[in-house]
């Protein structure tokens, strides 16, 4: 009974459970699998506990409880899970191929993006990132001042923006649409409001009008692009 309203409650503009890209989808699959496994294990341990309490004295063997359940069972589950997760993780890495590159430069408390504009020239925008749908792109993430974190839950995991470091984060939006993003790492008094939007446009159609979000280039952002 419980899962039905919960499933309906999984929607939302920042929900990781309503994935719209391959990375987010892989994580969602991993989550549902782990949830199912954890529920089973919780119920099983609970049942064992109830049985153990009701059992009024008797023999218990280390072989059964400690080597069987504690070591054997746990280690088998974990081996499978770690293997599966590492395989998923490998699929999400930003490898050296010719994926589209955009830049996200975080500062207290705004996001400055550089992306290809209508004529192919880079365009700088504030708090809105334009990317083509259906294509993998790498976000090159840098920071101006303190540590921030770039996160678009419906597209994939987060990646920190750290002063002095250039991080590369691969994402893809399956379909055209508007995806909400936010700064996930606490960055001071304006942390609450450090939101941004990713607009995935249909590459077959003319590019959307970016003028509303347009901003001057930040001083050093272009240099940080590799």
């Amino acid at each position: 009974m419980l899962p039905v309203p919960l499933l309906a409650a999984c929607d939302g503009p920042l929900s990781t459970l309503e994935p719209s890209g391959p990375a987010a989808r892989d994580v969602a699959i991993l989550w549902w699998a782990m949830l199912a496994g954890s529920t089973l294990i919780t119920l099983m341990v609970g049942a064992m506990l109830v049985l153990a309490i009701r059992n009024k004295g008797g023999r218990a063997s280390e072989r059964h409880w400690i080597w069987g359940w504690g070591l054997g069972f746990t280690l088998s589950v974990l081996t499978v899970l770690v293997g599966f997760s590492l395989w998923l993780g490998e699929r999400m890495l930003a490898r050296a191929d010719d994926a589209l590159e955009v830049s996200a430069h975080a500062a207290q408390w705004e996001w400055r993006f550089i992306q290809p504009g209508p004529d192919g020239q880079p365009v700088a925008t504030l708090d809105t990132l334009y990317v083509p749908a259906g294509t993998s792109f790498d976000v090159v993430i840098t920071s101006e001042d303190v540590i921030h974190s770039f996160w678009v839950p419906q597209l994939g995991g987060k990646m920190d923006a750290i002063p002095g470091h250039v991080n590369r984060h691969r994402l893809r939006a399956d379909a055209p649409g508007v995806y909400e993003g936010l700064c996930a790492e606490f960055c001071g008094i304006g942390h609450n409001f450090m939101r941004f939007t990713v607009i995935a446009y249909d590459p077959a159609l003319p590019m959307p009008d970016m003028s509303e979000a347009m901003a001057p280039f930040a001083d050093n952002q272009a240099e940080m692009l590799p």
Partner: protein, 104 residues
């Protein structure tokens, strides 16, 4: 007390190997060892494989030598358990050196 050190030997070896391989990975990425080809692989992978491999051999040696001369009882049991835990930990936590991609 001597037996306690013997029981911890495997775990101490794990700690050393874990730090060494983690350090080698970081240093190798920073210093570009992946661009140095050696045999069928590169210097970065080779260094980590070597440490892992030698470490596993050392673990097996500990497994054989640590319990020697300790009379049966709980302390000997703990020595054997410690040696196995060390071996298992090194196998489990460092297997990514043959499974995942480096520096990405």
């Amino acid at each position: 007390m001597n037996w306690l050190w013997r029981a911890l030997a495997g775990l101490i070896l794990w700690a050393v190997l874990f730090s060494a391989v983690y350090g080698l990975h970081g240093a190798g990425c920073a210093l570009g060892w992946r661009r140095v080809p050696v045999l069928f692989t590169d210097w970065h992978h080779l260094a980590m494989w070597l440490v892992w491999g030698v470490g596993l051999v050392l673990h097996v040696i500990l497994l054989r030598t640590m319990p020697q001369g300790v009379p049966p009882g709980r302390s000997r049991w703990l020595i054997v358990a410690g040696a196995w835990i060390g071996l298992g930990s090194t196998l489990f936590t460092l297997f990514p050196v043959i499974a995942t991609s480096t520096c990405l």
